[in-house]
Symmetry: D2
Subunit: 390 residues, 4 copies
Amino acid sequence: MPLRLLTAGESHGPQLVAILEGMVAGLPVDVDFVGHELQRRQRGVGAGPRMKIERDTVEFLGGVLENKTTGAPIAIQIRNHDHAKWKGIPIKPMLIPRPGHADLTGALKYGYSDLRPALERASARETALRVAAGAVCKLLLMEFGVQVFGYVASIGDIQADIDSIPMAERSHRAEEHETRCPDQRAAAAMVELVNSAIHQKDTLGGVIEVVATGLPIGLGSHVHADRRLSARLAAAVLGTQAMKGVEFGSAFANTRLFGTQVQDPIGVHEGGNLTRASNHAGGLEGGITNGQPLILRAAMKAIATTLTPQETVNLSTGQPAHTEYERSDFCPVPRAVPILENVVALVLADALLEKLGGDTLAELHVRYKALPTGLVADFRLDGEEHTYWP
Amino acid sequence: MPLRLLTAGESHGPQLVAILEGMVAGLPVDVDFVGHELQRRQRGVGAGPRMKIERDTVEFLGGVLENKTTGAPIAIQIRNHDHAKWKGIPIKPMLIPRPGHADLTGALKYGYSDLRPALERASARETALRVAAGAVCKLLLMEFGVQVFGYVASIGDIQADIDSIPMAERSHRAEEHETRCPDQRAAAAMVELVNSAIHQKDTLGGVIEVVATGLPIGLGSHVHADRRLSARLAAAVLGTQAMKGVEFGSAFANTRLFGTQVQDPIGVHEGGNLTRASNHAGGLEGGITNGQPLILRAAMKAIATTLTPQETVNLSTGQPAHTEYERSDFCPVPRAVPILENVVALVLADALLEKLGGDTLAELHVRYKALPTGLVADFRLDGEEHTYWP
Amino acid sequence: MPLRLLTAGESHGPQLVAILEGMVAGLPVDVDFVGHELQRRQRGVGAGPRMKIERDTVEFLGGVLENKTTGAPIAIQIRNHDHAKWKGIPIKPMLIPRPGHADLTGALKYGYSDLRPALERASARETALRVAAGAVCKLLLMEFGVQVFGYVASIGDIQADIDSIPMAERSHRAEEHETRCPDQRAAAAMVELVNSAIHQKDTLGGVIEVVATGLPIGLGSHVHADRRLSARLAAAVLGTQAMKGVEFGSAFANTRLFGTQVQDPIGVHEGGNLTRASNHAGGLEGGITNGQPLILRAAMKAIATTLTPQETVNLSTGQPAHTEYERSDFCPVPRAVPILENVVALVLADALLEKLGGDTLAELHVRYKALPTGLVADFRLDGEEHTYWP
Amino acid sequence: MPLRLLTAGESHGPQLVAILEGMVAGLPVDVDFVGHELQRRQRGVGAGPRMKIERDTVEFLGGVLENKTTGAPIAIQIRNHDHAKWKGIPIKPMLIPRPGHADLTGALKYGYSDLRPALERASARETALRVAAGAVCKLLLMEFGVQVFGYVASIGDIQADIDSIPMAERSHRAEEHETRCPDQRAAAAMVELVNSAIHQKDTLGGVIEVVATGLPIGLGSHVHADRRLSARLAAAVLGTQAMKGVEFGSAFANTRLFGTQVQDPIGVHEGGNLTRASNHAGGLEGGITNGQPLILRAAMKAIATTLTPQETVNLSTGQPAHTEYERSDFCPVPRAVPILENVVALVLADALLEKLGGDTLAELHVRYKALPTGLVADFRLDGEEHTYWP
């Protein structure tokens, strides 16, 4: 896989740093676009108070000259504006783990003398880096007409009616609303639910859909388990904080149907253009993009940090205790939309670079134009008998 | 990650071959156990006729001497008993792709002159190798008291009542029934449903749960996205043929609940043993095992190959056509249980080897005994203030 | 890196098996060519008696249909003809490690109860697989006019005069002689030296040169340490049994010269074709191919197994002992020529696939033709000032 | 392999950034030690003028809290003090490639409109990051009694007499002299030679030896080519700027000797301690550490940038031209000693972490103490016949 990404930095450290290695040279890096993606990540109903103060900006410390990639590793920095408040300050020990976080597991695994180091790194603050790196990947994808967008499908038990909204309008409508839900009626109900959860000192999760349109046929492969695009996307989504499930199309719901009900019949237009009557497969067949929109749905759990104290144990005394509140969101779902979009963009850019090879954007453009597009004429079937094992 | 696995071979080729690299030396390889796992994969209601003839057996061609691993790469071979029927035989061209398979995407991507080579490699026949390699991993895990098992939670719209069956009885009950569903009432309904689907020339999918008990705390990590055990497991599951979704615990259902409802309160027993009142997290917090059973659920789509012809296109003529039947299962869900168990075992063994390091089973045993087990006393909290950024 | 290779099997096991993953579809696999490479590996002055009986042949068990690659993992099998002599036979324990082998280190690392399992896997028998897999890579490279060949530069203290033999004649002349040395005078002296070593119950090593001509400019990269082609080639060479050193061009000798003496001045022909007056760099600048022949030299140690007993220890008794003879070569250098050629071909094919991307040989050909060839006109210099950090 | 390292940043950019992922928690990070290693890299006879102004210091931006590693990715930053001179400044185009650099190959590969971006990343400035990351690895290794040190064996045709200096004194003596050559007589001649080269507007290369003492037996493995420690070390050395060759022990010289002359006889002390009479193997047998000092020798080419102009071509005009001088060293060999030491330390730490597994330094210490040390009693030989293939 051509791209490598490492991220580093703690939630309250001086800055976050990522290195993205393997990007081609010559890609214009629109810093405003990257900043815009970062700011999308900081807005949404149910966000905690930290979001209101911060305005993340990105600095490219390497791999970008004159606002163009050079092919060298791209170093990305995002400063933590409230680090000053933590520098040189003795911090009260954290001894009481919150269920649902890495507090307990991380501290045990790494032998910490305080739970805080686990939380510092497990925090979703780190996702800012993946948004920034993913935004560079979005810029690459947009060069080839690929759009990656997402929206909220449900929060708590409020389920949006997504199917009735045309694909082309979903992103636009979602971005207009602080819930990032494109269904206005559901969006209004979600706001109410979030406010009621805040009032009850509780939190909410939900389901996010991410869509990629304009992908060429043939990304990913069936020839090996770890080459399946489904596997690579699933790892990216479930490597993201608070994500606990993923499905392509409505896979879980589809299991309730018969085989004849969930396939996507293949049709043909004049000119030999292949069409599909539906997209139950979510754009992947055999782990390979099939020219339909890629659609994945992610289950995001409700934020584990609640103002309502939860039962737990003081790991210093061994006595029962209640959780103490750490600053957090009430409903992270709207803010997670751009996170997942960019996490998905990282995988798709990787798959596209693998398909196209090469070292410069110019090279990629030429090769992209020569890709088969799924016309009948793109197939090389010879209609002959074959003796595969002579 | 210590383990590497490559698999090769086509569905009707002479044999399937895998190489598993990175296993420690000294692990007894119970060939009968591996064979038993392979045979579990060949049995189940809704299996196609091929399953009735075949009896897969495994041969270890390398890395195993005197039935013990040596630390060298393990070569695994499974012969295809019906290869003789294909060798030297001209095979009719396949020009009509079945929706839902790699027929179309694979042939376009790799430029085949016939659709069959895509199907030959995309076939779930390949999973026999992952079962065999995973069975070796199960043997490793069992050395440390880890059990990996699975069962059918639903087929079509028949949903088993799993929660009311004690964890310790699920595997046993599931294996007693041809559906691999531990809920007898549901199992009976599933048989009926499968038979009716066969009668209707249709197919079915379902949901499988895989559980791992006895895992030490601390496998996986929150420190980097691709080290989260959730990411690694999700990739393995969604790298498996016909799998379209995965969740830890009941993640999708949990999104409908409030934060206070879906955490797993931490309690403490005498002796400082930490306990959990529930397991909504499915055994992972921060992408790390937390000492609770690991539970994942996979959505398996209905088999795309149906006796009822589906609309598609003849890629040679460009004219509308109907799918032609290729030998296949009617309901692959029961047979997929051992597949997913072993796919999961591969990841868990990898994570355990990463945690324990070393080159021999004896070394691992000593190290394993020294692992923290999650007693309060295992934590090293010092109760002091820390100045993290001096 | 697109290609992955795993090899498995023991020296006296039933067969050797490799899987090569990542090769494009549509490459004709000339089985005779692969067999020819295997047989080159079995011939040469100083070979042990085993070589005279064996005639390795290759079977492709997967990834090749109708003698063409399909893009699926390629499974390669080579049978061990003398396995029958070992099967079911109790084998005398080996307790006395030979210095210079993995006997001692391997047995300690893996906790063996006998030294033999170390030797079984450490044996150069395994290189047959890398020759076979490398031969498939040579076939790919030849599609693009790349030739990889090698020859013996020295055996013991007999040094060939390579510089006076034109590059185009070296391979041909080397293959004509059982020493694989293209300098006839040196070759004759080498035969004499090898015979005298055999007579003295001793063994010999030497230096091998591997050359690749016709490589496009731009394989490898300076942007990251592990992307330098020098690093990747060095790992491949020093991952090969008995290889203890590697240099590009005459790097060690060049360290004795001044900077002005060891560069390769750049000239220009009519038409803007860039030329080099020399090739001290061995074809790599900044870890990237520069259009000159790639030349690497490998130091192969004298075979550690000598008929003359060596001082060692019986690890069972802890008493001093002498090595006991295991069947072996006297001078492995001529036979190692095809081994290193193919090990190098694996790396070069990997780098070429990385440069060209794609899934089919046809795609690669189109992309290859569009590569810059190093004409002045291929550079995009704009002659302007740049403000790299605005 | 547990450790991952990515580096980023250009020679004249604002800063250099690296991320080292996979280090255990609890390792004290002595920032002064890391700074000292960086400063060793900036001193030595033959250094260019830039070295005299700069004083590199390191900042840990992530993965280190209270001066201890946390197990999270370690972010390392080194500022470029002269960046201010470049920021916002239009820079004259560079159109004339210097032979021996990535100027030409890098610009062609990445389609640059100016040669400078190639040079910015190919510059050995990047090695400062590998020194800093490697210094963290040295700190880990020192916890287990492993010392990694290096010295200059030759500059130009001045060859030190290393063999007559006891291993324990080499590092100390080398550090006392600006040449980093432990042989005083040779050191004096080297200074003279370097001064004469400067006077002649020429440059020099040489040979560096890196030694690691105190390594446990059993790092690396013979079971797969890419697990051989020789392969991993060779890749690291030849992934380093200006390195063109590597050998273990005196591998190239050893090829001139007979097999009986170059082995390292195994002896035994009272108590069953195994000894070696020599170390021709350079500490590796079968690609595995054997308890002897690891010794590798690297050939570093003379700096390609010479004050004496060299023949080349103006790539803008296509006309013959002469190189223009870029600020550079005259003899980089003494400064490259700490670079190679730390590059080697990265590989050795990786291999040690692989051997020991685990997540905390405390865990590693316990496991380390249980490692076999190479006493006869550490072997588990049972002296029985084995039937390996039943």
